[in-house]
Symmetry: C3
Subunit: 416 residues, 3 copies
């Protein structure tokens, strides 16, 4: 009788934990809509349908490739090659054990797969923003497929799958490095291979190309913040009351401080309370806290978020200065603040210390050392084969007509 | 003491199950916003306010009629007439037992009512898309009220209320037939009675009428996918970890495969990576998996979703060929893929077999045999009394001005 | 052994309750996006970026000030001055007890802080709608900061922090008074100090200034209804199955009846099925049920919602008549229906009675007696120092250019 009671108590806890992980999965899913509307809002209306096409198909590609190969590359179990590569075989599937607490005290095999799969696709979405308004649809789709199927799970395994970075002591709670800077490095090589949009840098001058719909951008940022409750809160991997609620608080305070940091910086240095900077400040705070959201006090979270909000403004200016054209600020938000957030684990919070800072640095460098050449090779092959960039005429008239023969807003008159 | 412990354990499980069902209710609620933005995006801006009016008032009508009559028509308990009709009396209300696990191990009476009520209203929303841009507001509101109050709960009872289709062995997990094809048949009769929009079919040629806002359409599809986690996941009727998480996986993989299926089909046969087809492919996959989301393996779900995505493209082309004008593709998504998904239960998964396929076929036919004449009679009476269709002048200038004396976007210049 | 079992059962329940409270927190968070899109949709496109700036920064200001001062003003514990003021010291922080059920049977300290903090910021958002399209950005930000940091938590403490209104028997389940009319009174004084928008009232005539995007307004109302599941449902402060599900039902039925009430009223008296009135009817029903959502039967909820829906239409007409210019109807929805909902606790439901009605009346008056002069003083000081209102030229050309040097829709041609 006592055994049965204990089993039932354990089962109840398993059901609670699994419920939270499924809801977290749904929240991470909605981040894809957040990315879609954010990228669309910050770009020109002649490329809107094209951007939305990519953002709509990425979750599909992400989940299917993750089912076929990604999940078992990322969590290979025992089948390791020195902690840098492992593979547990094609496809997913489970027996009854995967559906009970014998699999895991936090969630079922199915929940595990779907939660991780939703993460995977976000890495490709980050790239899509940076290369928008000039990349060929077919090239992007091929890149995204390889990137999500191989690059993301291989580096993800290094820490979350028990690989060499995990052994080393590297810490990345929810993916400042494993998700955001992975996406960011892929975005950087993409921007380098593609070159800037026509008209962005003319005769040494920077010409801002404003986004066509600020409401869409704001909808995107709010949905991303909402989704981050699942992204960070779900990374606790259980419904542990103290830990998940702490993560909710640090995540929200970092986002808030990021908004204030970016607003203050843009108002002071650009003499303008700049909304797109403030929105990027929110995202900067979120990316910044992600690596250590479970380790920080509220004051730490505010410090990290605020600094990330300041950094993102100067970073956007910097990339413009060095003529790297990133229409939505993805490099600044995901790469720069992803690195900052990873290092922040060594500076603030429970694990702060020079040793940890060194581990964090090694993690950042290791991931870069793989993703940069890996993605560069893909971009290079695509460029030499089917080509990376649409024609100048297509870029001028818009990728919606050029790639899809349709317009996003066929009824509205444009400013000529 | 032991009894008390067992009671507390049972109560805890009840609280968990009920929590999930309430969250699922909120997710199904947000599908109404998904339908609203999808329909709006795929239609012309001169009818936007009218469409949004209908979509905003439908949940209100749905919940109120479900409280007054629908819930007790759909779940009549013992008061049956041969499994085809039952009624437990007007209104809702409960005593203390309805709020504890003595009512149901999964959820309270209130949760039961609200979850089912949110489903009810979706059936009317499906119709609203197909008849958009030409139907009189008053006629639609009368139709929608009768449809949700009577047609949906009566056929719903046949399976979910323990009626004759349930006895027969018909299976419909979350409503490929009971929700989607019910709405689809009502949409079909509506389209037949209304006729096509002016300008859609001229001298034997099909003139596409593009939607005015692709971002709204994309927002709609993502919100529908999100809501489907509650629609299908909630149909488990408890937070059972293995079953709910399997349903999340099959639902998401079917949606993903539907996107790929529709993209591939449109790219191959229409020579165009068509976004609205791809979006409808996602919905096709979701509708297709709905009848058997708890019975399928991941591979089954991918097969069903992919085929639904292929079907939806050819179905849209077919309805255009036979001059049935459906502005948003509701017939293809909800009726055709609803039937396909229902039959799929006999072809793939745990229940696959010729017997089951026959039961599924009987279910499809039975529902059609009731909904088609029932809705035809309502449309007929409305047509002969207050009229179904707005005047040609009103259709030309738009239903926003005609029915509401307001515009959806009064400030923006239109392409003339 | 038995003790350990009992502890584990209690811990499980704590984990469930805390999970619901965290999800409710996320739902209240998304209300900020609802307010943002609603306000944007109902105003002119030349002020869109400015409105979205305010709505994006308010949650940040709200959470940070709540962390620094608001939370400990609102829940001061023992440190009272006669039930009208208390303060538990600057900052937040907790020891281990705050993370277990020893803090509270419903949730952790962190969850408590974040749920309450999300509420706090909504009060400022209510004001932002009423003063839109003419207020200086800097003045509004200063007002909002003081309002959320001081005014909201001080009056909130009177009831929810165990202050004198609580002792008196005043009841306000989720804040018809403590949130909505607090915001509403601040909005009223703001409207009085600012005066109407140029062109709204000319030579004794009322000139409607239509909103620029009905889809954004509809998105806003649906997100607010969704968020209200957390706002009201979370105010149960646990996942109690019977109570939370009742609150879901009363909340949804009141919203539905509000929609019908406002539709019927506008159709009958204004000869027009007015969508913005219907949307405000939904919100009116939601605000109206908020004070007693846990006390009402379904029939009570329908009555309260319907009456609120009728009231809101006449209230909007009234404020126009008396030349108080409120671009989004915030006074009618939040102030008038907030008061109605508070009084409704004395008229319908479990606590109905003259005594209770009197307590409710005292609560309404007490809050007004503090908020009106408090906010009037802030507005007065701002008016005399940095000024409240933008210049006539800036108002004419729009606050987007005037305050932010950017446009929300730079690519679309405007009707001239």
């Amino acid at each position: 009788m006592e055994n049965q009671i204990t089993t039932e108590i354990t089962n109840n806890l398993f059901t609670i934990n699994n419920l939270w992980m499924m809801i977290a999965t749904a929240l991470v899913f909605i981040m894809h809509l957040g990315f879609a509307t954010l990228e669309t809002g910050l770009t020109q209306s002649k490329n809107t349908l094209n951007i939305l096409f990519k953002n709509s198909i990425i979750p599909a590609i992400g989940l299917l490739t993750y089912a076929i190969i990604g999940f078992s590359l990322m969590y290979p179990g025992e089948s390791f090659a020195g902690g840098v590569f492992g593979f547990a075989g094609f496809g997913i599937g489970t027996d009854a054990a995967g559906l009970t607490s014998s699999y895991n005290i936090g969630y079922t095999y199915w929940t595990d797969f779907l939660f991780q799969g939703m993460f995977a696709a976000t890495a490709a979405t980050i790239v899509s923003g940076a290369v928008a308004e000039r990349i060929k649809l077919s090239s992007f789709l091929i890149f995204a497929t390889i990137f999500v199927a191989l690059a993301y799970p291989i580096t993800g395994m290094w820490k979350w799958g028990g690989g060499f970075l995990d052994t080393l002591g590297f810490y990345d709670f929810a993916g400042s490095t494993l998700v955001h800077s992975v996406g960011g490095w892929g975005a950087l090589t993409g921007v380098l291979f593609l070159g800037p949009r026509a008209g962005k840098f003319v005769k040494g001058k920077i010409h801002p190309i404003p986004g066509h719909s600020i409401p869409l951008a704001v909808i995107g940022v709010f949905l991303l913040w909402l989704g981050w409750f699942g992204f960070n809160g779900g990374s606790v991997l259980s419904a542990d009351p103290g830990l998940v609620s702490l993560v909710f608080v640090t995540t929200s305070l970092a986002a808030s401080a990021g908004a204030i940091g970016a607003m203050a910086t843009s108002w002071t240095f650009l003499k303008n309370p700049d909304l797109t900077m403030t929105l990027n400040g929110i995202l900067a705070g979120l990316v910044g806290i992600t690596a250590g959201a479970d380790l920080m006090s509220p004051a730490d979270a505010i410090a990290i978020g605020f600094i990330a909000g300041v950094i993102v403004v100067f970073s956007v200016i910097f990339f413009d200065k060095v003529k790297l054209d990133d229409p939505v600020g993805a490099l600044s938000v995901h790469l720069v603040c992803g690195i900052f957030g990873t290092l922040a684990v060594g500076i603030w919070g429970e694990k702060a210390g020079l040793d940890q800072l060194w581990h964090q640095f090694i993690g950042v460098i290791s991931v870069a050392a793989f993703i940069v050449p890996f993605t560069a090779i893909i971009w290079f092959i695509l460029k030499k084969s089917i080509g990376l960039r649409v024609s100048a005429e297509e870029e001028y008239s818009g990728l919606d007509i050029g790639e899809h023969s349709m317009e996003a807003y066929p009824e509205f008159e444009k400013v000529s």
